[in-house]
């Protein structure tokens, strides 16, 4: 303690601002009583309550009180530092107070919300929490943050649509970009596809212009057949080694990193007769067959949705598969690009088939349609098809077994309508009663329980297309460890905040976009990619970042150089200096405290979370309120 060291022992002047948060706190805690209590605590020079401390008048109140009451420490007792600490810290700074002289007491999440039904004890707990905060605040010290220069270049990992889009955007802003792709060419997963949703263009035709732009952009250095081998450093200053399959490792320096490594389709081992029966393929495999124009003669096609997803192999919905199935079904129905090669041979069959096959389930569907139409909000496809007097032009009977058709938004829903107009049947199943793919008399057959008719039915099919979910890349965890960014439970990279920070990682300087973050269609992936580029460009544009002062500090006189801290640090923020003593790389340190907790000599202090501060807080917790 500086004051004590100087022997002056100037007593702190603490201001406590207790927030009602509208009724979020005020409705369950007697805020006035807590305020009155706070005023009685030692070294509290001023205590007040605000309806919303975070609103402008609340902030002004803090600023004015700092001046009026000569406060040297500020406590806001309200919600969570995760969202609000920076705001209050800036407010303190605006009033000339070092932002580390601010501390937070959370009486909402930790108090009012969890003790909604016991006002009296919630109030008592709020008092306890405030008393603890005040105890800690007495030992707060001002800290200095350092400005760190930023290497004005970026690394984009993954050369698919997302990676290319992100790289191109950053390059267009004028920043050099290293684009790392593990394959020998750009394009990513889309290269496997024949057609895309919501466009008449083929997948190849769609992405070629993007690849051309990347090739033409001089700010982009492509590293094909390459992977990220090592990553050292921290925001603004990353040293990255790019390992080539058959090339010398290259070292590049970048300021920010975008992860755009994509995803892969689940291989549905053991599901729905996959690899067991002929002509049971995944949607991706069907795309490949289309590309090769290697589709067998088809009369009946069944799609099965949610193969392995939504609670089977994975818990999530893969978002894109319904729309892929709709696209493919329409393409089959329209015999796009003569992909089937069948209608030219037997055009006459076309009409006959649909007339022949208005099976009971079809009627039931139509019955529902009629009811819907009566209510003026129905689907129109039956009507239109009848008007056109047409079955699918290809003569192929197409059925999509689904749980819910995820045709969200405008275009997907319109495509869904179009598919139904083309007499593609959508039959719902429930997870307790999955369709069964079997062989009967040498023919492929799909058996299912008709939910409307409440009966088992079956249909012969020529081909079954399994819609399997996208799953994370097998090497995602490697990259996750290299970059020290998390994967979620679903195996995809986990963004910093699902609502408001969709392309940021919690780790500064690293960003995420595309399907490595979770299933997304091309438009969404590209949109996220541009977003990630925008986010990654911020430190590059400024040329510097402000490093937090919330780091560990080594007392060189106590350190014995045992190296424990170097080993436990998850961020590589500690190293031994020439004298064998540990030192902290401030910009890399996240202030997690692992080193401080493990140091056998007690040589490491956590700035802003010193033992003295924490012990004071703990002692206060045990005092009688």
């Amino acid at each position: 303690m500086t004051d004590e060291a100087n022997g002056e022992k100037k007593s702190p002047r603490i201001g406590v601002f207790i927030c009602h948060c509208g009724s979020n706190i005020g409705g369950f805690v007697d805020v006035k009583a807590v305020t009155e209590y706070a005023a009685t605590l030692p070294d509290v020079a001023y205590a007040t309550d605000n309806l919303y401390t975070c609103a402008e008048d609340g902030l002004n109140n803090i600023k004015e009180s700092i001046k009026e009451h000569n406060l040297d420490r500020v406590i806001v007792s309200s919600c969570t530092p995760r969202t609000h600490a920076p705001l209050f810290q800036r407010t303190c700074e605006a009033a000339g107070l070092n932002k580390y002289m601010f501390t937070f007491v959370n009486i909402r999440e930790h108090c009012s919300w969890v003790h909604m039904k016991d006002r009296e004890r919630a109030t008592q707990k709020a008092k306890d929490l405030v008393r603890m905060g005040v105890a800690r605040a007495r030992f707060l010290e001002p800290q200095e943050e350092t400005k760190i220069d930023v290497t004005q270049a970026a690394l984009v990992v993954g050369g698919g649509v997302s990676g290319m889009t992100a790289a191109l955007s950053l390059a267009n802003m004028g920043f050099p970009v290293h684009l790392v792709e593990k394959d020998n060419e750009l394009g990513g997963f889309v290269r496997n596809l024949h057609g895309l949703m919501n466009t008449k263009k083929s997948a190849g035709e769609t992405i070629e212009p993007l690849i051309d732009k990347v090739n033409a952009q001089k700010n982009i250095t492509q590293h094909l057949n390459s992977r990220v081998a090592t990553v050292e450093g921290f925001i603004g200053n990353y040293d990255v080694t790019i390992g080539g399959d058959d090339a010398e490792p290259k070292e590049v320096k970048v300021g920010t990193i975008i992860v755009a490594t994509g995803a892969v389709p689940l291989v549905p081992e053991g599901l729905f007769g996959y690899k067991e029966h002929p002509n049971v393929v995944t949607a991706t495999e069907f795309e490949e067959l289309c590309k090769k124009k290697d589709i067998p003669k088809l009369k009946n096609v069944a799609f099965i949705q949610c193969v392995g997803s939504r609670g089977q192999k994975v818990s999530y919905c893969s978002r894109i598969c319904c729309n892929v199935a709709i696209k493919t079904a329409i393409n089959i129905a329209e015999n796009r690009d003569n992909m089937l090669g069948v209608t030219e041979e037997k055009p006459a069959e076309a009409g006959g088939q649909a007339v022949e096959e208005p099976a009971a389930d079809m009627k039931a569907e139509e019955g529902t349609e009629r009811r819907r139409r009566r209510r003026g909000r129905g689907r129109r496809e039956g009507e239109d098809a009848v008007e056109e007097g047409a079955a699918p032009s290809s003569g192929v009977e197409i059925t999509v077994f689904n749980r819910d058709v995820m045709a969200y938004g405008v275009e997907h829903e319109l495509e869904f309508n179009k598919a139904r107009e083309k007499r593609v049947k959508f039959i719902r199943y429930v997870p307790d009663n999955l369709p069964k793919v079997t062989m009967k008399d040498g023919n492929l057959e799909v058996g299912y329980f008709h939910e409307t008719l409440k009966m088992e039915r079956s249909m012969p099919v020529d081909m079954v297309i399994l819609s399997t979910p996208l799953v994370s890349q097998p090497d995602a965890s490697t990259l996750s460890q290299l970059l020290k960014v998390p994967l979620g439970q679903d195996g995809f990279f986990q963004e910093a905040h699902v609502k408001l920070r969709p392309v940021d990682f919690a780790t500064d300087g690293v960003f995420v976009c595309g399907t490595c973050r979770g299933p997304a269609d091309i438009a969404e992936a590209a949109s996220q990619a541009a977003a990630a580029a925008s986010r990654a460009a911020i430190p590059l544009a400024n040329g510097f970042v402000q490093a937090e002062a919330l780091t560990s500090r080594v007392d060189e006189t106590k350190c014995t150089g045992c190296g424990t801290c170097v080993e436990v640090c998850p961020y590589g923020a500690l190293r031994k200096n020439e004298e064998g003593i540990s030192e902290v790389i401030a910009a890399a340190c996240k202030g997690c405290g692992c080193c401080g907790a493990t140091c056998p000599e007690g040589a490491i202090t956590m700035t802003h979370y010193t033992d003295q501060q924490l012990l004071a807080e703990a002692k206060a917790a045990l005092e009688e309120g």
Partner: protein, 901 residues
């Protein structure tokens, strides 16, 4: 020149775009139509799939955006015009006057408490009311109030004295009676008097006249004047300061009294010289007791005099003292001598005994002098004086015929006066003009008239009466009372210096009422010729204003009188109310029975009781909607309110533009199968969202509109209006499945006895963590999902909505306590206009179009213009945020390549 980016729309997408750009060191202007940024997200209670409090996570971003050194936030603003191209746009932004200084206002809300106006609170989906000075929500950014003033109410606009009629009606409605009287007195010194005798052009303007009948604005004024006085609360106003200058006012009529009162309030020493023995001028001598009881007039004049005004009766300038004396003894003189001299008919026989001119007749009656009128009386003229004379003569026992040369339609008298006369039994001879008064032995026997017909309109716009030759006829009468017109008696003034017009009125500069003689001002009937009391009040006020300037040594150059404020129309109000105005019958003032009226001078129309007044005031549709009562400024501690604030146009020069204007909620009342607005317990999802919010209209409680009970069985119906080509929304809104699931979970969190059922077509829980969220709703929150279309009926007994749906092809129905409709989210109305200004294309459903929606979503077809958020198509919050950042990247690319930044 430093290049900037314009972001249109201050919702989450716009905020994110602005922050991303600003953090790169780029200047950003954010234009938001509403008084606060925050957009739709601010209205949400929680957000899926984490159930984070929406405003809690949004508010810091709003604050960041507003406080960012590189961001200039313009709220309550609209883009007016756009020209130029990428790298160099020119954009005119209309910054609407909010009448509150954004810097000074602390958002304390003291002004909200004094505002008498109640309006639907749009932020709370009209489920509660807000004042006309307001903040949309507690966490509004900027934290500054806004006065919702779309224009001036027609009642206020039509008042010749410029009184804010809507203002005092609003104050009466809010039972702020003293405040109402104070407001009236700022313009009309005699509220009770004016309320009784004014010809109330305010009521002619009232927008309610086209719905049913105008609000009884004048009657309310009479009520509030009386009520406050009778309650003894009519305490004198404070004198601003003590001034030594002396002002002489000649004439204690309405103009003189108004000027004297105004000047007295300013602290001047005011003395009124009144020729007669009573105050009020024509109010005393010309208006009979049955319209204006003398005690009311006396009381109100006494109130004025209590402000230190001296009055001397029986002093005629020109006779008892000269104008020169006044000029010598006083620093300024205001001549308000009225127009007391009756004009003659100019027909033979006018000097016969039995001819008594209207003004003289009324004066004598008022003075309780003997007036000899016969059994049969003819009153000539169609103005108020004629009606007063006729009804007075009637009360004196005569049989009265009014002779008027045009028809009833052209009569200048107040309609109520004409009706009063008719009801009481006065006869009318229209289209007749006297040609001769016949007499015998010096007394009248008859009056000869000639029939008239209506010709071309004259200068006044009324048809000119033209005599029909040879149509003379006679009416036998004993007394003739000509009441055709009056003129000032300037000769009596005895001044040679004052300039006089050819109409024998005093000549003044109409803009400051100064005469040609320095220090002498004139106004009222003496200048205008006979006119209304309210016009005389206005003249007195104006004279006082310029006399004060004169005495302050300031220039009396007339100030430009701006009256360019938009006058609110019925259409404006309907647009604001989103529908028709409910009819409501005008409260009629109690009348004395016709029979009784003929024999007494008791007041005919009873003043409203308090109950009647409140009922009548409640009919006001709050045109302004701010009533301009000016109650808020005195309540404002930091002095932030400025009624003179003007709209401003700011020209910006952005290199790129980001459009992020968000969405609207479709009103499902046109889809009758859901019963919205028909069945009280049917809600829209947005209404429910506000209801479940702790800061919302019900404080976070879910309550039934019908009985305030909290529902235990909730139904959510999905795709209301969406996925439905019949209503023009074939698309899926992409957020409602998750939204409904969240709402059902929250219901359970608030009350553990609520069970929810969601009726859906497809449960589109298809983004990160969404499927898991729905599974959690089923397992942990007892939410049931039924895969069916659904419509709503009602059990009329308990007002429970009944959901009709089908499962397995069988129609079923189930009763619920309340139903929540997931209504379609649609592009905002203004999108069309903005698209036109920007040259952008809209999709068939009205969203802004991205030509390459596959690889370059958010890039419009206009270079330099980018799109983000729901205005470009359905998107949830994280998608909107990503699109905001994405648009920022695109804009930053433009800046990097346009040599600025």
């Amino acid at each position: 020149m430093k290049k900037s980016v314009l972001v249109i729309g201050g919702g989450i997408a716009g905020i994110q775009a602005a922050l991303d750009l600003a953090d790169k060191g780029i200047s950003v202007d954010v234009v938001e139509k509403l008084p606060s940024i925050g957009g739709r997200m601010a209205q949400l209670d929680k957000t899926f799939p984490t159930n984070d409090c929406s405003i809690c996570i949004l508010a810091p971003k709003m604050a960041d955006c507003y406080a960012h050194p590189n961001i200039n936030v313009m709220t309550y603003s609209e883009v007016k015009e756009i020209s130029g191209s990428a790298g160099d746009f020119k954009v005119d932004v209309l910054k609407k006057a909010r009448f509150v200084d954004e810097e000074k206002c602390t958002g304390c809300g003291d002004c909200f408490k004094v505002c008498p106006v109640s309006l639907p609170n749009e932020f709370d989906m009209d489920m509660r009311e807000r004042p006309a000075i307001y903040m949309p929500f507690l966490q509004s950014v900027p934290r500054a109030a806004t006065i919702d003033r779309a224009g001036v109410a027609p009642c206020s606009d039509k008042c010749p004295a410029g009184l804010s009629a809507q203002g005092y009606v609003a104050l009466i409605r809010a039972e702020k009676f003293k405040e109402a009287v104070d407001l009236i007195r700022r313009t009309i010194p005699l509220p009770s008097v004016c309320g009784r005798i004014c010809h109330h052009p305010c009521e002619d303007g009232c927008n309610r006249k086209d719905v049913d009948d105008p609000v009884a604005i004048a009657g309310l004024k009479a009520f509030v004047g009386d009520f406050v006085r009778e309650q003894g609360k009519d305490t004198p106003a404070e004198i601003e300061e003590d001034r030594k200058e002396k002002v002489a006012v000649v004439g204690a009529g309405p103009a003189g009294l108004a000027a004297a009162y105004r000047l007295a309030l300013k602290g001047f020493k005011v003395k009124i010289f009144e020729a007669t023995s009573k105050p009020g001028g024509m109010l005393w001598w010309g208006i009979p007791d049955y319209r204006l009881p003398k005690d009311v007039l006396s009381a109100e004049v006494d109130y004025l005099l209590a402000h230190g005004i001296e009055i001397e009766y029986g002093k005629t300038v020109g006779k008892d003292l000269t104008l020169d004396d006044l000029r010598k003894d006083y620093d300024a003189v205001f001549l308000a001598i009225g127009a007391q001299r009756s004009l003659k008919l100019d027909v033979p026989g006018e000097d016969l005994k039995g001819v008594v001119h209207g003004v003289d007749f009324l004066h004598k009656v008022a003075a309780k002098e003997e007036v000899d009128i016969g059994k049969r009386v003819a009153v000539i003229g169609g103005g108020n004086a004629a009606m007063d004379a006729a009804r007075t003569a009637l009360r004196m026992g005569s049989d009265v015929t009014v002779i008027y040369r045009r028809t009833k339609n052209e009569m200048p008298a107040i309609a109520a006066e004409i009706k009063g006369a008719e009801d009481e039994g006065v006869k009318f001879e229209f289209l007749a003009s006297p040609t001769k008064i016949e007499g015998k032995d010096g007394s009248i026997t008859a009056i000869e008239c000639i029939r008239m017909k209506l010709g071309e309109p004259d200068k006044s716009g009324r048809p000119r009466p033209v005599p029909v030759e040879g149509s003379e006829f006679t009416v036998e009468v004993d007394t003739v009372i000509p009441a055709v017109s009056q003129a000032p008696d300037l000769a009596a003034l005895g001044s040679k210096d004052l300039a006089v017009t050819k109409w024998n009125t005093l000549e003044v500069n109409p803009d400051n009422l100064s005469t040609n003689v320095d220090g002498i001002f004139a106004g009222g009937d003496a200048v205008s010729g006979p006119a209304s009391a309210v016009e005389a009040f206005a003249a007195g006020n104006k004279a006082a204003r310029y006399i004060e300037k004169k005495l302050n040594g300031e220039s009396i150059e007339p100030e430009p009188e701006e009256k360019d404020e938009h006058v609110i129309t019925l259409e404006d109000i309907k647009a604001r109310m989103k529908g028709e105005i409910t009819k409501s019958e005008r409260v009629m003032r109690q009348h004395l029975p016709d029979e009784k009226r003929r024999t007494t001078f008791d007041e005919v129309e009873k003043v409203f009781t308090k109950e009647e007044a409140l009922k009548e005031a409640a009919r006001c549709v709050s045109c302004g909607p701010c009533s301009q009562c000016e109650a808020c400024a005195p309540a404002c501690g930091p002095d932030a309110i400025d009624y003179n604030m003007k709209d401003q146009v700011v020209t910006l020069n952005p290199a790129a533009i980001i459009v992020a204007t968000g969405f609207d909620v479709w009103d499902p009342s046109s889809a009758s199968e859901y019963g919205y607005k028909k069945y009280p317990n049917v809600y829209t999802a947005m209404e429910y969202e506000r209801m479940i919010n702790a800061a919302g209209p019900t404080g976070g409680h879910i309550v039934r509109r019908s009985d305030g009970e909290h529902p235990k069985k909730l139904a959510f119906i999905q795709c209301v209006g969406s996925r439905n080509p019949q209503v023009g929304h074939p698309y899926c809104c992409a957020v409602c499945c998750m939204h409904a699931t969240k709402e059902a979970m929250l219901a359970r969190e608030h009350y553990d006895d609520i069970n929810s059922t969601i009726f859906y077509k497809d449960m589109r829980a298809c983004a990160k963590g969404f499927n898991e969220y729905v599974e959690r709703a089923k397992s942990d929150y007892a939410v049931s999902y039924v895969n069916s279309d659904a419509t709503v009926q009602e059990n009329a007994q308990n007002r429970n909505p009944v959901v009709v749906f089908d499962v397995g092809g069988k129609q079923q129905s189930e009763e619920f306590d309340a139903v929540v409709l997931a209504t379609t989210l649609v592009p905002r109305k203004e999108t069309v206009d903005l698209a036109e200004k920007l040259g952008l294309k809209l999709t068939e459903f009205g969203f802004f179009e991205s030509p390459d929606g596959i690889l370059d979503f958010g890039r419009s077809e206009v270079p330099g213009v980018y799109l983000a958020g729901y205005c470009a198509g359905p998107a949830d919050i994280p998608e909107s945020v990503a699109q905001g950042s994405s648009a920022a990247a695109k804009a930053a690319e433009v800046l990097a390549n346009s040599g600025g930044g």
